[in-house]
Amino acid sequence: MTTMPQIDLAGAGVQPATAVAKPKVVARDVNVHYGEKHALHNVSIDIPEQAVTAFIGPSGCGKSTFLRCINRMNDTIASCRVTGRIELDGEDIYDRSLDVVQLRARVGMVFQKPNPFPKSIYENVAYGPRIHGLAQSKAELDEIVERSLKRASLFEEVKDRLDAPGTGLSGGQQQRLCIARAIAVSPEVILMDEPCSALDPIATARIEELIDELRENYTIVIVTHSMQQAARVSQRTAFFHLGKLVEQGPTEHIFTTPEDKRTQDYITGRFG
């Protein structure tokens, strides 16, 4: 992992046109290579606190790649090389002194396909608190599990069968379980990579509702291939194309008066 030399964030040059007031995550000139392949070119973006930011764009344009930079999940891919600077609350997350385990406790992730562990519902949610030692007693752990399931609006459906395997739930319930699992370690940011792409419309609607509720307490970044979804749940939208961040801004702005030709073409359905 090489880190680019410090860039003056306040200075001119790469400062995004639409800077946000209270950025939680700040990325500057992020480049990602998978081996020889240059997957992401000079991405700079500010992600606001307690809001939903959506990444849209045709598939293969690097949305997931950038999302995975924010909690350093790309570290698990041997061929992947990230350069540039990403800050969480002003702290460089690629700094040598930063512990990736701590980072991922602060930046949780929900994946495209629901991936509950083959354990009980309770154990799924308790997984994070256990490895991070967040609960001193069984009662405390019970409380964390219950609170997380409630926040993920799953508790009512599963409260009588917390010992049942998480893999036995329906797809939508599994995805909410994964959200509960992420919430259980009280992250500040939650990254969601197409969290509804494997779900039916009703389950999707529930997750979207949930995302809207979670916005109050968390900073949420969601990758979606559905423009309607981006329009429904997000406050800010960033449009990626061929590894470049083409345009970003308030969601209604992007969807009504996009500036770039490529953004226009994409949201009017001309490609993608």
């Binding site: 909690n71 999940m73 698990t76 041997a78 990736v100 385990v101 701590q102 980072l103 991922r104 406790a105 949780g108 992730m109 994946f111 396909k113 991936n115 509950p116 562990f117 083959p118 354990k119 997984y127 994070g128 490895i131 991070h132 893999t167 994964c178 699992r181 992420a182 370690v185």
Partner: protein, 457 residues
């Protein structure tokens, strides 16, 4: 002669195939739309010739020798005609020897006549077989080529024949197993007719030498198999204590930590271990490991037998490492990457992820890998024959010589044996117990694997 017959068979099959295909191609050339490709017409015709020809062989095999034999007996002069079954067989044997020119000394004229009759009858039978076979093939050819027509479903017919052939092959495998099980079962029941089964299963003394004279000492003929079961269990436990952790940890390293390059080299190398003949492991155990254990043990002030359960178990453990590691590696790899990502995404380290997510998810598969390895270990003979000894000691001390079920089976059956003494029959009883145990292990292991598969599909 058999060779000639089968050469004829192959030649006819090829000729029929070519003829059938040619006919199909002619039909196409004549503007017909065939239901099946010309190739299938050829294959159908070849099968139509081969099947009757093989049927002739099948019918002929039990019939022909009888005819030949009765000719030979009939050629004997009146004074040599056999009067009993035994004499009949003896005369035949002599006639056969005369026929092939291996009769010691000069045969009597009567016997020479019988030998000549035998020889000529057999030669005639062989020619007749060939003629009949070719006639049958010709019949099949005529019948088959009448069938060939544009709308003839040669493909379906041929595929039906193929299916029957496939069924026959699988039937061979299944029937062999069933046959073995039943023959072992019957011999076992015969043994239990002579020796009470509860004494066999629960008896504590194993000394299968049966007294030949009434006053012989130390030859009690006791078939209490518990010492063998204990010895087998002891060796097996040592083996699994070696192979379990080593194999599992190797698998974890291979699948979770090793770079793809290292894995590509190390995995096949580890699997070579599975290809080493067990007899090689056996003498390694007897000549290298056992003396080493003995001298080490003695240096520590322990008394160690020169053949010990420990030596056999250790080497057997090494032998089954590849089973454990290779199968475990497969099940660990089958754990979806998404589960690992989920765990890393929660901030778990690699070893936490392995301990808390990967291994629990792979556990059923790992258990069944261990069970398959155990059933290998239990059935293994060469290593224990060479390294564990023959003494039926009832002991749990790994430093002493023990004996195992397989070793005793081998010992009981090697050499000249009467096949209906209790001693020989006891080998079948041991074999049956062994078979039953490994079968049980395999069934349970396969069940677990299947259940585990369902979880992710």
């Amino acid at each position: 002669m058999v060779a000639v017959f089968f050469l004829a068979l192959v030649a006819i099959a090829v000729a029929a195939y070519l003829a059938g295909r040619l006919k199909g191609q002619r039909l196409v050339a004549a503007g017909a739309r065939l239901h099946s490709l010309p190739t299938y017409h050829g294959l159908f015709l070849a099968v139509a010739c081969v099947i009757p020809m093989l049927a002739v062989v099948v019918a002929w095999t039990p019939l022909a020798p009888r005819v030949v034999e009765s000719r030979a007996i009939a050629a004997l002069p009146a004074d040599l005609q056999p009067k009993s079954e035994l004499e009949h067989d003896a005369r035949l044997r002599e006639a056969r020897l005369v026929a092939v020119g291996q009769y010691a000394g000069a045969p009597s004229p009567g016997l020479a006549a019988a030998g000549e009759a035998y020889r000529s009858a057999r030669a005639a039978a062989e020619v007749l077989l060939l003629a009949l076979g070719i006639a049958a093939a010709a019949g099949g050819f005529v019948w088959g080529s009448r069938q060939l027509a544009p709308d003839f479903r040669a493909r379906n017919r041929f595929e039906r024949v193929t299916k029957v052939a496939l069924i026959a092959c699988s039937a061979v495998a299944v029937l062999t197993t069933v046959g073995i099980v039943f023959s072992v079962l019957f011999e076992t029941l015969r043994f239990f007719g002579r020796y009470p089964w509860h004494d066999f299963l629960f008896g504590l003394q194993w000394s299968p030498q049966i007294a030949i004279r009434a006053d012989q000492v130390g030859q009690s003929g006791a078939f209490g198999a518990v010492p063998l079961f204990v010895g087998t269990t002891l060796v097996m436990l040592i083996a699994i204590l070696v192979a379990g952790p080593v194999g599992l940890f190797a698998a974890i390293y291979m699948s979770e930590y090793a770079t793809p390059k290292f894995r590509a080299v190390a995995k096949p190398v580890l699997e070579v271990l599975a290809g080493i003949p067990t007899v090689v492991f056996g003498f390694f155990a007897a000549l290298t490991v056992a003396p080493f254990i003995k001298s080490t043990g003695e240096a520590l002030g322990l008394s160690v037998a020169s053949e010990s359960a420990l030596a056999a178990g250790l080497v057997m453990g090494v032998m089954i490492i590849p089973f454990v590691s290779s199968l475990s590696d497969d099940v660990i790899n089958a754990v979806p990457q998404s589960l690992r990502d989920g765990s890393y995404g929660m901030g778990a380290t690699r070893s936490e992820t392995i301990k808390k997510v990967v291994l629990p998810a792979a556990l059923p598969g790992i258990v069944s890998a261990l069970m398959l390895a155990v059933s290998r270990a239990v059935g293994e003979t060469m290593i224990v024959v060479m390294a564990a000894g023959l003494a039926g000691n009832l002991t749990f001390n790994p430093l002493e010589a023990v004996t195992t079920v397989t070793v005793q089976i081998k010992t009981l059956l090697v050499g000249d044996q009467e096949f209906d003494s209790a001693k020989t029959l006891s080998a079948f009883a041991l074999g049956f117990v062994l078979f039953f145990f490994t079968l049980l292990l395999n069934v349970v292991a396969l069940r677990i694997v299947r259940k585990y598969r369902e979880q992710y599909d």
